[in-house]
Amino acid sequence: MKKLIPLTAYIEALGNSLQCSGTLSHLHLHPSQGDGIQRVGPHTIECDLFDTSRKWHLTLPTDSRFPIDQQILQSRVVFTHSCSLLVETIFEPSTLTVYDSLGRPHQRDVLLEIGYTPLDDFMRQNCAVSRRSIVRNALESLHSAAVSLTQYKITHGALDRHTICFDDCGEVQLAGYPLAPLASSPTRDHESLAMAALLLYVGASDLTALRFLSHSSHNGDEHTRRLRCILSAAQHHNNTPLANIAHDILTRASAGALTSSIARLSEHPFAPLPLLTPLLAGERKSSEFIFDTLQPLPAEDEVRVDFAHCDEVFPPSDTIIRYRKSNRWGYAYYDGQPIRLERQILSAHDFEEGRAVVITPRGYGLIDSSGKMVMNDVWRSLVWYCEENIVAAENDKGEWHIYDRMGHQISAMSADWMGDAAEGYVVARRGDKYCYYSINGARCTDFIYDEAYAFQDGKALVCYKGHHYYIDTTGHQTDLKKV
């Protein structure tokens, strides 16, 4: 049926207070929102509106009525007021007047919900700025939500990234309840909550994976592929709760099982998943790393490593051999004498000039050739620059510093990122601007460059106000030619 009322008419109506009444007359679009429309569904249009104190989420039907029985709609709306899990909804009939292309007015009902932060935005906001306590809160809240759904026999049926929302403290609020489909399996809700928990946990654990997960997979295959990648990475990195929840979602486990999985995940520490990003990006095959059970190192490895029975043995570096057996990494000398490590490591890098980066369930660390932790495994990220004898590392607050090979902090001021150490200088970023630090920790330039690259042969390429040129180690331009 041809729609008589174009989308622009709704936008006009929302922007014209004369066409709005009731609560709607006090709300307005935010100037930065553009046309303000968030989503256009087959039967509804959604957008965010604002009053002086809060955000509202508006849903209005493109047809004359919402595609649900009015009685059910209204009873659901009432229910949202008594269930703290659900976003409070206001149903206001005929409060919006829109004009069709012939100029005829049409009244529209609106549903207004208090505007909480949907999952995707919540992930982007809180995982990226290392607000892990809020993420932790959100995980616990998701578990509570799963329990409540079971306990109160609530079936939502339309839980997804848009309708699973969070307040500023990370408390779950389920939106869109009044318009949720009637026939729905309760397990679907628990799957959605579990998926939300999984995404939040992974996003907080591994920022690099976030970019692959912070948008919906629009087809079932991609959704499944992502889950399998997460499952593989979780197994590889010995993250049992994460592996279990991914497995449960994939196998459509019961609501009870899913609720338990959410609970365990909400208690599990965040841990990097270095394998995940290459899997999600398609650089590694997940079939390489699927294991049925996690294998501990055999006892004889405590005495002597038999390289012939290792899954991977790398060429020696610094006289030390890195090897992998099943999902365990280790180091040993030529004769198989193992280097005793203080921690169980999930991933290992080669030794260079007496140091190697390792990843444990807790985080990144730096070990010396005796296996001792020179920098404890509490870092979100850590890079060893052996040519410069320094480490660039990110702490759990998201702050980057440089450290000497003994783990002593060199830089006084932190940055949002540090790296590309070469010829005695390190590139640093704060916000979207770059600068250079010397490896003694002194900042050599201000954060002024739009782009900045490592020094080579005494020169570094930078971009400043759109112009690319080379600077020397004193920060002066050496070459003004455009690159």
Partner: protein
């Protein structure tokens, strides 16, 4: 062979190859003081130079008995640390150097303690950065040894002492072996260049794994890197036997390699390596 006395007409020669890679920034303990391996190595080498000068000291002059070259290798380069190439002991003595003041303490058997301040000259400064271009260092040593032997055909051949704490990063083991063979093939009429390798231990490595001047049989138990160093090290002539026997308690023949040597032993090892000082007349 290896009989020449060291005279002013037939001088002796040393080439020291010093690892200055990043791993030399590891901490160690020398004479009870905590410092980096690079600092300890610099201190020991400076002591050796002082000792050479002192041993050449006559009533009114320093006898020109030795030529010394010191190559430091790190990053991608192997650079001369004493001017360029060879320096005579007389020139080394007249170089302007840093003077460091050291507080010395001595406690007599009765417990009385005394302290004094002494000045020590420092030709070599500590440095530790970058990788380990040992191949470059061996190539430099070959050039230096070759030019020296042409000028001093009758002298005791040069002694090359390579001090490192890790593997070469600029070449394979095979290439290192080839370079070492080329170096050891250089000779005077008194014998071939002697190559001694001293591998310094890490802070925590098991001392039981240390080997000093091992025999062929002991070498069987060595790891790949240690075996390489063993194979490229010279078999020491008889004149070293007594000193090494006293040091190790073992019997000759001895290979000129010490593996996983604690830094505290470096002084003694260099004293053995520079034994030709005792052949001065």
């Amino acid at each position: 062979m290896y009989n020449s006395q060291i005279t002013r007409a037939n001088k002796g020669a040393f080439i020291l190859l010093l690892d200055r890679s990043g791993s030399m920034a590891e901490q160690t303990i020398l004479n009870g003081n905590v410092m980096t391996k690079a600092q300890a190595l610099a201190d020991v080498v400076n002591s050796l130079l002082t000792e050479l000068i002192n041993r050449c000291r006559k009533e009114r002059f320093i006898g020109d008995y030795f030529d010394v070259a010191i190559i430091g290798y790190s990053g991608d380069e192997a650079d001369s640390l004493l001017g360029s190439g060879w320096q005579s002991i007389v020139d080394i003595d007249s170089m302007a150097t840093d003077i460091t003041r050291h507080r010395l303490e001595r406690r007599l058997p009765d417990g009385t303690a005394y302290a004094t301040i002494v000045d020590r000259r420092a030709w070599i400064k500590p440095y530790a950065k970058g990788r380990t271009p040992m191949a470059k260092a061996l190539s430099s040593a070959t050039r230096l040894a070759s030019s020296w032997c042409r000028k001093h055909p009758l002298s005791f051949p040069p002694i090359v002492i390579n001090i490192s704490d890790g593997e070469a990063t600029d070449s394979s083991h095979e290439q290192i072996a080839q370079l070492a063979d080329k170096l050891k093939a250089i000779s005077t009429s008194d014998g071939n260049v002697l190559l001694m390798n001293i591998h310094l231990s890490g802070q925590y490595e098991n001392e039981e794994c240390s080997l000093r001047f091992p025999s062929e049989r002991e070498a069987l138990s060595l790891g790949r890197h240690a075996k390489l160093l063993f194979n490229i090290s010279s078999t020491l002539p008889e004149l070293y036997n007594q000193e090494i026997e006293e040091f190790t308690g073992a019997k000759p023949p001895f290979r000129a390699i010490c593996y996983n040597a604690p830094i505290d032993e470096l002084v003694s090892l260099l004293a053995i390596g520079s034994l030709t000082m005792d052949r001065m007349i």
